[in-house]
Symmetry: C3
Subunit: 396 residues, 3 copies
């Protein structure tokens, strides 16, 4: 029996009928079974692809992408996932960072979705805007489908909003599951999601929020560390608390990287911008206040610079479990002495973890493909079995 | 019997052998049977797609696009049409609005057409240039094909030139046919193609020209309204006159929006630039006269501003047949109080017609696909029958 | 028997097992049998396509392209080749001419190769950098594949580096073979690869280097002509010398275009920048010395201008074999009196050779497709036979 078929047999036991025709906004919208199903389908697709099975779900069709912020990794992961399933990618080349009005979004949403099976959106720059944009977009295509404008309703893959970055956190989690040999081995494992210093400004909150919003569901000890002033959204802290309660794990906050790293199994040191400042930034953009934005940027860079000691050094790594915690990053990292003078991580630490870091990233195409497949295919179990017994991807 | 098969049975009665291997420049190049065939094939493809039939004509192949002016709707419609038929889209990223020389066009045309089944071109900015560019391009690929450089001759889809915008007017017409329940119900219907005020400058003439050049072929009462100075090309008016004569309909010009709207079944209020001014603009660009262009722009904006009362208000809509005429626009519209202070249409009118407006746009991918299919497939009747009985698009 | 099958029968006799899973950096890396196999497969694919056979090797998969310099011809050739074989093209939109650091390249290489079967790279701007970039990139994906990050190792097609331009020289050579009716007719034919004046600066050396590095392998008399100061890389001259020795042909250098053209069967007049100056330019870029770069540019343009008589005139063409040598160019050319005041070639000469010039370019998609097929398919003979007997490309 192939690994894919073993996974399909596990998938069969999960309740996932609500994934069909659903959108993927946030991981906390999804049940534990649904989250488990995404990992299972992702791993099955990876096995099928490795054994040269065709994973086509579509004979033709489009995967539209709307990147309202830069992207390389996620862009190519989305393109790979669409291609794997038989969809062509067509990118909407909007001017980035433009805060669009409802009317325009409604019109654009319909005009670019004529034959779209999937819509992937990244809109992570402005607090209070990214998720709203996606909601407005998807409401518009729902209406368009109901009114007969669109003959199919595309499903949404959130490729990073102001709140969550589910394709990242799910890929991160799949990496953790594989690293520790199975989800059943994660109970009690300690993960440190820590703020780290960066010489750049305004990095999204959606990565740390995505991580604490998801990793707290597996019975792990999740610790969030950051300097005062770098709080994440209170709503997400609440979700993390509730998740932890339900699984026998824990979620707590500390105010030093060293404390977070102490005896940790996994460390995830990464910079982000303070939530309150990001809210202020959105207001300034909406008001067109260029001077205000410049002043805010200066203030934030100065504030960051007060915490240059929040960096992942070899000394700090030694404090982790046996000095060998799994180091994680969503990439690209600010590497001290390599990509910048002082940054998130010492070069020697980063260099030592390059293979696991790239491996971490390599799960994303399959996670995206699994999100699409479980939303577009009514019976994923049957589909994956047919793929396993089906035709080859490379024909010669 | 499926709707597609019903349509194919109608298609079988039409004389369309000259569509095979033809280009689509202007609707008035095509016979009535050919125009009818495009609508029929478009509707059949829509039905096939809605019933999850694969509409692949090509196992592989490229649809090249050359957008020498901005586009969202048409770009995605073209991408959808190509994808539906099995072609990948590859865009030539030329600097827009550059008036190219014959030699360059001839070379480029061959260099990007090595495996092109279709070429879609938008070149609408300069009077006297857009159509010429397309002609030069297609003459070059014809020669390239004859000389054995290209192994196939791609067909042209005009995605908007300086004279016509056939994918728009054909989609508009398909919308009208569906709205009134069939082409047989259009005799005597009144359509008002009216100029409307816009705070922007230099909008192409090809939309109103395309509309009066096509809508006059169905026995309708076609009224063209515009302020003095906003004349369209005399040649197109002549075509409209002759069309109308042949079908028992009429074509006439009036000088007020109110008169045009009186008892109209359909209204199409939209801004465009004066023909003579656009000719002047081309000359200035060719001479590299930047000051002249700036002055012309100022003059035209001032001239526009004299006609701010040419706007589609609720009051004007009340004058139409039962106050419920079908409002049409090629989008995006300049909406008063929404996208601009004063524009082509009152927000409340536009808002009320959003569903039909989006529906109007939704015909374009199928119109483009029908243009491609009837040019590339020798026996469209047989092909559509095979598609109806063939394999599925979404495989699971 | 089809032409494709005749070619496959020739292919069967060649030793090409080392092409499988190999990269295509430089033609001189490849054995004579391997070079012959590329031409044979390219011609077979062209015949298959002309007879409407599907040439799909892949059901799905990505061909990634990284263009670190502008391209139209090669870009569309690569897109055509990928499409022919069943791959979608996804372009990495890097800022061009940025000299990237090893670490970034390693990361990017893995991040964009998740499902890549092929990587096409153009990096021709900086001496000592282009090839290095490709090597670093491919070393990174090799490591990624070995570590289980990538489930397949993509193969490289060099779309022009600082040293060679193999898709160009191989297409050029295929054109020559066809023009003279077979590779067996080339012994003793004289080809003049000559520098020519251009009003622009910094044209890559990889075209002349690619030409003398490849054309010397077929028993031809290869003459390289350039003014003093426009030397190509000494290593490549040495390769050309050794090639010539092995085939009974010759390689020599002359210092006038007239001498090179004398009795030539083929002339290839084209501008390039002096090797030493290009090395200097790389150093200046790396040092960020903008003034130095500007001064170098001025110096080089002045130096070029001393050799305006190095231009392919009708008079010079008369000196060639029967006055009818095959004129070649990689396009676009600087055409005197058409695209510039004084350039590489007289307009009347260029105009007379347009059909062969376009034909020359038309081999490139097939050469690229042959490079991909022979690297990705273990048994090209069997694959091509199946294609010949297989399904159609245009289905209706």
């Amino acid at each position: 029996m192939s690994k894919a078929i073993e996974l399909v047999n596990q998938l069969e036991k999960l309740q996932i009928k609500n994934l069909y025709n659903s959108d993927f906004y946030w991981t906390w919208d999804k049940t534990d079974d649904e989250i488990a199903a995404i990992f299972t389908v992702a791993d099955a697709l990876r096995d099928l692809r490795e054994r040269n099975r065709s994973c086509r779900v579509f004979d033709s069709g489009l995967g539209i992408s709307v990147f309202r912020d830069n992207s390389t990794r996620t862009r190519f992961s989305y393109a790979s996932a669409c291609n794997l399933l038989g969809l062509d990618v067509k990118d909407l080349d909007e001017k980035k960072s433009q805060i669009a009005h409802g009317e325009t979004v409604r019109e654009t949403a319909n005009m670019i979705s004529f034959m779209a099976d999937v819509i992937g959106i990244r809109d992570d720059m402005f607090i209070g805007e990214g998720h709203k944009y996606m909601k407005t977009f998807m409401d518009a295509v729902t209406e368009g489908y109901e009114k007969g404008i669109l003959e199919q309703r595309p499903m949404l893959v959130n490729l990073q909003c102001d709140v969550d970055h589910p394709t990242q956190s799910m890929a991160d989690m799949d990496h953790i599951i594989h690293h520790f040999g199975g989800v059943e081995n994660l109970k009690g494992k300690k993960i440190a999601m820590s703020w780290a210093y960066s010489p750049s400004y305004g990095k999204p909150l959606s990565v740390p929020q995505g991580v604490v919003g998801l990793m707290t569901r597996f019975g792990m000890e999740v610790v969030l560390a950051h300097p005062k002033g770098y709080e994440i959204m209170p709503d997400i802290e609440k979700i993390a608390q509730e998740n932890a309660k339900g699984t026998g794990g824990s979620f707590r906050k500390v105010s030093s990287m060293a404390e977070a790293f102490e005896d940790a199994d996994i460390v995830y040191p990464k910079s982000w911008a303070p939530f309150a400042a990001m809210e202020e930034r959105t207001r300034l953009y909406q008001a067109g206040d260029k001077d205000g934005i410049d002043q805010l940027e200066k203030k934030l860079l100065a504030q960051n610079a007060e915490f240059k000691d929040w960096t992942c050094t070899e000394d700090l790594m030694k404090r982790t479990k046996n000095g060998t915690a799994l180091y994680m990053h969503c990439l690209p990292a600010d590497i001290s002495g390599l990509s910048c003078k002082e940054g998130e991580v010492e070069n020697s630490v980063f260099e030592r973890y390059i293979t696991p870091l790239y491996k971490q990233a390599s799960y994303k195409p399959y996670i995206i493909a699994a999100m699409i497949l479980t939303s577009k295919v009514q019976d994923p179990v049957a589909a994956l079995r047919k793929m396993d017994a089906g035709s080859e991807r490379k024909l010669f």
